[in-house]
Amino acid sequence: MDELIFLCAAGLALVASVMVFALRNTVYAVVALITALSAVAVLFFQLGAAFVGALQIILYAGAIMVLFLFVVMLLNVHRDNLGPDRRWLQKAVGILIGFILLGQLVLLGRRLLPGGGTADLEWGGAQDLARAFFGRFVLAFELTSLLLLAAMIGAVLVARRSDGEEA
């Protein structure tokens, strides 16, 4: 039973992830990405990390993807008005970043799972995560929040400026 759920969720996550860049309709791609993120949340639930799974859905599948969908729907971008074709640069940078992430994943996997088995999850609960965030990693956590705050203020400023010109 557990194995069946895992295979379904993992398979769905993989297929949906491929669809994200294979589909030509951007709205379909966003829906595929939502599906992929939700499937990953199922994997979290199955590992016993229900808190992380719930946050995955609330933050990624629920909140961030709504904004993606809004932008895609409202801008309605077509291939013709994307400007000069710089896709070779995008592809090169994308492949480079992809390999870096893959390398990190392999290294992390080898450190966490020395025997090649499943990880012993002691960190999936709300209390464990809170202890990690506000204890050992408090500096990194607060720095990240500062970064997000700066980004938010920047976004508001940019929106304000264009608004002022129109008025």
């Binding site: 709205v27 829906v31 939502i34 859905i57 599948a61 629920g62 969908l69």
Partner: protein
Amino acid sequence: MDLVDFAVMLAKSVVVLVLLLTLCAYATLLERKVVARFQTRIGPNRAGPAGLLQPLADLVKLVFKEDLNPAGANKLMFVLAPVMAFIPAFMAISVIPFGDTFTLFGRSIDGVISDLNVGILFILAISSLGVYALVLAGWSSNSKYSLLGGLRSSAQMISYEVALGLSIVGVLILSGTLSLTEIVRQQTAFTDWYIFKQPLGFLLFLISGIAETNRAPFDLPEAENELVAGYHTEYSSIKFAMFYVAEYANMVTISAVATTLFMGGWNGPWLPPVVWFLLKVVFFLFIYIWLRATLPRLRYDQLMKFGWLVLLPTALANVVLTALADSLGWLAW
């Protein structure tokens, strides 16, 4: 998990699903009856004794209506949207406890389909997925009314979701757990109900819950005089019925969460726990209908201002005050 556990799980799921569908069907009848009384009419009374078969008649009528697809609509998303409204609406109820653990044929059975230790977060997560149905329905219909309705409702749901989440933080601070079963067990005595320790939190939850389910007086997405019927303008037949049932299922879910968090869940004297739970849920459904029959619809800018400038700061203040009062021991009676 052995076969018997699986069978118990399946049986519980079927019972809850049937119960929820029945509750949704009769909530529509309750709404029509109660609103009729508010307007000094009688309401539906032809189908069956006192109109009790009206939901069945409505269903038959809707199923036999022609299923229209507007020209220029995105077929796939147009079909998918009602399904995406329907499924999350019926998933959230799976973590709501409707009774304490009981023993049947020597097996102890939990009074909940899945006793998730982060139950309340699961409900917030699932209900946040419902917004996609409205956006995609609005976008795929190829109609201006639908698109505007979809945009409005998603802006509204995103805004009020924040206040909804913050309004329950007070209860979570006091209870110290995210498990709904635990929260109900802490409210065994009447005076321990969290509505008395969190009156402001309760009010905030009720208001943002109504806004979250797009009900009157926050039913801007369906403002007839501006947007015809909002995101489901172009929908007919069974697809429309799915949106309609999903709306009522969401109402039932919010009512059930309010019951669980603030009104002691299944706790109550004399009657069996499940009956108490259902009575409290129906009470909240009545409040929904009462408000709909009483209050006029807000204007859109009023709605947004109220959400961000009144509801959100009040919810934040409630969190700070509760944390302060809890650490000083004022709320431990």
